[in-house]
């Protein structure tokens, strides 16, 4: 398998020799309306149990990549494999093992939080015991307590996001895909969401693929990050190693250095 990291990090190379990646993205290109190149020939690999972050400014192409992995969009060129399933040919299989949270997601306003979680759980399994198990996890992950019995339309933005994080992670997906999971949230809700993600990865061993333009958040959450700008990957590796490599204090500075070509 050919791997094309723009900047080679030794840790990545050593890890790849141990396990097979659960998400393979190779030479991915996505062109909109015949001439807008949203994703421009990128490749990366995500390994089981990792929290992998795609970071970059608005319009970098992060959401497009996540939508392709989530089988919503189709690549113009390149290969995307999730747990050995091709996202085009085996889209239904891929959907069984992923759980996706779009950046601008909502929930059915006229269902209660609990009804919504139950509805999602039942879409993933027919087994009533598993539904109960998922619900139990969802209730805990959301941290919404009694408010779960209220209709979703009464929720604040933070509460809604917590509910959506819970619905995404409660079904114990092999790969959780989270697009800007803390975008627009206040500190308390953002912390809750980050903790929920960490807890999910730790307790289930599931893989998390997330995007964010909050590079400090990603530094805290992710095992590995890819810095994306104008549809291309500028750098990929562990946050600490990227900081060392570029001799900077945080990932924002890494990005500025790479984007300005310094």
């Amino acid at each position: 398998m050919q791997r094309r990291s723009i900047i080679s990090i030794p840790w990545v190379e050593s890890l790849t020799s141990l396990t097979s990646p659960i998400v393979v993205v190779e030479n991915l290109v996505k062109v909109y309306q015949k001439n807008i190149r949203a994703v421009d020939n990128i490749s990366f690999y995500v390994y089981p149990g990792e929290i992998f972050g795609l970071i970059g400014p608005n319009g970098a192409g992060k959401t497009t990549i996540l939508r392709i992995i989530a089988t919503i969009l189709q690549p113009t060129q390149g290969k995307v494999i999730v747990n050995n399933y091709d996202v085009i040919k085996d889209a239904p299989k891929v959907r069984e093992i992923i759980s996706y949270l779009p950046e601008d997601a909502g929930a059915y306003k006229y269902l209660t939080g609990l009804e919504f979680l139950e509805f999602i759980a039942k879409l993933y399994t027919k087994d009533s015991k598993k539904v109960d198990e998922y619900l139990e996890i969802g209730v805990k992950l959301s941290g919404l307590g009694e408010r779960l019995n209220d209709k979703v339309k009464t929720y604040s933005k933070g509460m809604l996001r917590r509910l959506l994080i819970a619905k995404t992670l409660m079904v114990k997906p092999k790969v959780a895909i989270l697009d800007e999971p803390t975008s627009g949230l206040d500190v308390i809700n953002a912390v809750h969401v980050r903790e929920a993600i960490k807890k999910f990865a730790k307790e289930t061993g599931g893989t998390v693929l997330l995007s964010s333009h909050n590079m400090l958040e990603v530094e805290y959450l992710c095992d590995k990050v890819a810095i994306i700008h104008k549809g291309k990957i500028l750098a990929i590796g562990r946050p600490k190693e990227l900081l060392e490599k570029f001799e900077v204090q945080n990932l924002e500075e890494v990005f500025v250095k790479l984007a300005s070509g310094v």
Binding site: Y32, A60, A70, I72, S99, G106, Y110, L123
Partner: protein, 429 residues
């Protein structure tokens, strides 16, 4: 499995959403009142015309006895212009009533007076010319019957007085045998005939309109709500059959539309038409016994299967089309606006057969190919025994429906469902 989950979810959301109260109850109620009002007024005018036409009748008096003269005098006393025809009745019938200028022709048979004198029940044969196939024309049957029944009452009173018997002990003596004449054919059961004509002109188009309006609005709203509530993108990534979700929305919208269709059409229609008859036919002429003529009728056996298949095809076509169009909308308001634009032409198409000359096979075939119009036209096609056009009208909707459904299916199972937007070119991140 996801199908029923979505059906339950849809029903729950619909029941809890106050906007749906406006969309499903208030707006349709206003719409129906307006439609019933307009159609009702048109029907009243038609019936008034027929009532007016009923003030001129023709009579062939084969009896030439005292009671046949009494009948003619009775009609004249009512202010009716009576046109006596001296021709041989066989010739008149053979000439398809061409020499008869009035809508109603009474034929008083020989022995009429003799029978009455001997207190033996007798009858007057009534021919009603059927020409325009309008709802008002059916009123002529009632008018003809009314004249005879009122004459019967007057006669009974007179006989009772003459014989010094209480009126209640005297039963009917003059009966009316009413038949229709359409072209050169006798319509032996004109009530059933006009029942079907009424259905074709008003009832079926209204039912179809109700079905189409509700189903189109509901299904378009159902898809738009997914986008407005920002669940659309999530849905596309879930391990479910996308067509199952679409199917659930189609099913729910057709289910609710059917319930509404039955409720609005049967209850309001019955109430409304009984009012039309009461107000349109002057009470000075006679009391109209009931509106049974218009509401309780039987149909030819072949009508039901043709109609069922046609309506299923129409529902599939219209709902798939609405769903397809609603995919362009980003929110409920846009979806409603798009669907609103197709409803205007729908109303026109539904009532198209009322205004188009359908005497030629070519025109009948042409209308039978027009979706929606063919549903309203089907009862007339069956009446006219044009089974080729009936079959085309029945099958064409299914074909249109399947074509749109296939396009819809292709879109739903590709990324186009996500990228399809109305006049919006926005670069995705």
């Amino acid at each position: 499995m996801s199908f029923w989950l979505f059906v339950v979810k849809e029903l729950k959301s619909l029941a809890r959403d106050p906007r749906m109260l406006i969309a499903m109850v208030i707006v349709p109620l206003i719409l129906m009142i307006v439609i019933y009002g307009v159609l009702g007024q048109a029907a009243v005018e038609q019936i008034k015309q027929v009532v007016k036409a009923g003030y001129v009748v023709s009579v062939i008096d084969m009896d030439r006895g005292i009671y046949s003269q009494t009948f003619v005098s009775y009609l004249k006393n009512l202010g009716i212009d009576v046109n006596i025809i001296d021709e041989n009745v066989e010739n008149v019938i053979a000439n398809k009533l061409q020499n008869v200028t009035t809508k109603i022709l009474f034929i008083i048979p020989k022995g009429f007076s003799e029978n009455i004198t001997k207190a033996i029940p007798t009858y007057i044969v009534t021919y009603v010319k059927i020409e325009s196939l309008t709802i008002g024309e059916g009123g002529a049957l009632e008018i003809a019957r009314t004249y005879i029944s009122q004459f019967n009452s007057v006669l009974l009173k007179s006989i009772a007085k003459e014989k010094d018997i209480p009126e209640q002990f005297v039963s009917g003596i003059v009966f009316g045998d009413v038949v229709g004449l359409l072209g050169g054919k006798i319509v032996k059961n004109p009530d059933m005939f006009f029942g079907i004509v009424t259905m074709g002109n008003i009832f079926i188009p209204l039912i179809v309109l109700l079905l189409v309006v509700f189903a189109a609005q509901l299904v378009a709203t159902g898809i738009a709500i997914e986008k407005e509530e920002k669940m659309f993108e999530t849905l596309l990534s879930l391990p479910i059959n996308r067509m199952g979700v679409v199917g659930a929305k189609l099913f729910t919208s057709i289910l609710i539309s059917s319930i509404y269709m039955i409720a609005y059409s049967f209850i309001l229609f019955q109430l409304f038409l009984s009012q039309i008859l009461k107000t349109a036919i002057p009470t000075s002429v006679a009391e109209i016994p009931s509106s049974d003529t218009l509401t309780s009728f039987s149909m030819p056996n072949e009508f039901i299967p043709y109609m069922i298949v046609n309506v299923i095809g129409l529902a599939l076509f219209m709902v798939s089309l609405s769903l397809l169009l609603s995919l362009f909308a980003e929110d409920v308001r846009t979806a409603q606006a798009i669907i609103g634009n197709i409803l205007g032409p729908t109303v026109i198409v539904i009532y198209l057969p009322m205004f188009i000359e359908t005497s030629t096979q070519t025109s009948r075939l042409a209308i039978s190919l027009v979706p929606i119009a063919n549903t309203a036209f089907l009862p007339k096609l069956i009446l006219l025994e044009d089974y080729t056009a009936s079959l085309i009208a029945t099958v064409s909707n299914i074909i249109y429906g399947l074509i749109v459904f296939t396009i819809l299916r292709k879109i739903v199972n590709s990324e186009t469902i996500f990228t399809l937007k109305l006049f919006r070119r926005k670069r995705s991140e």
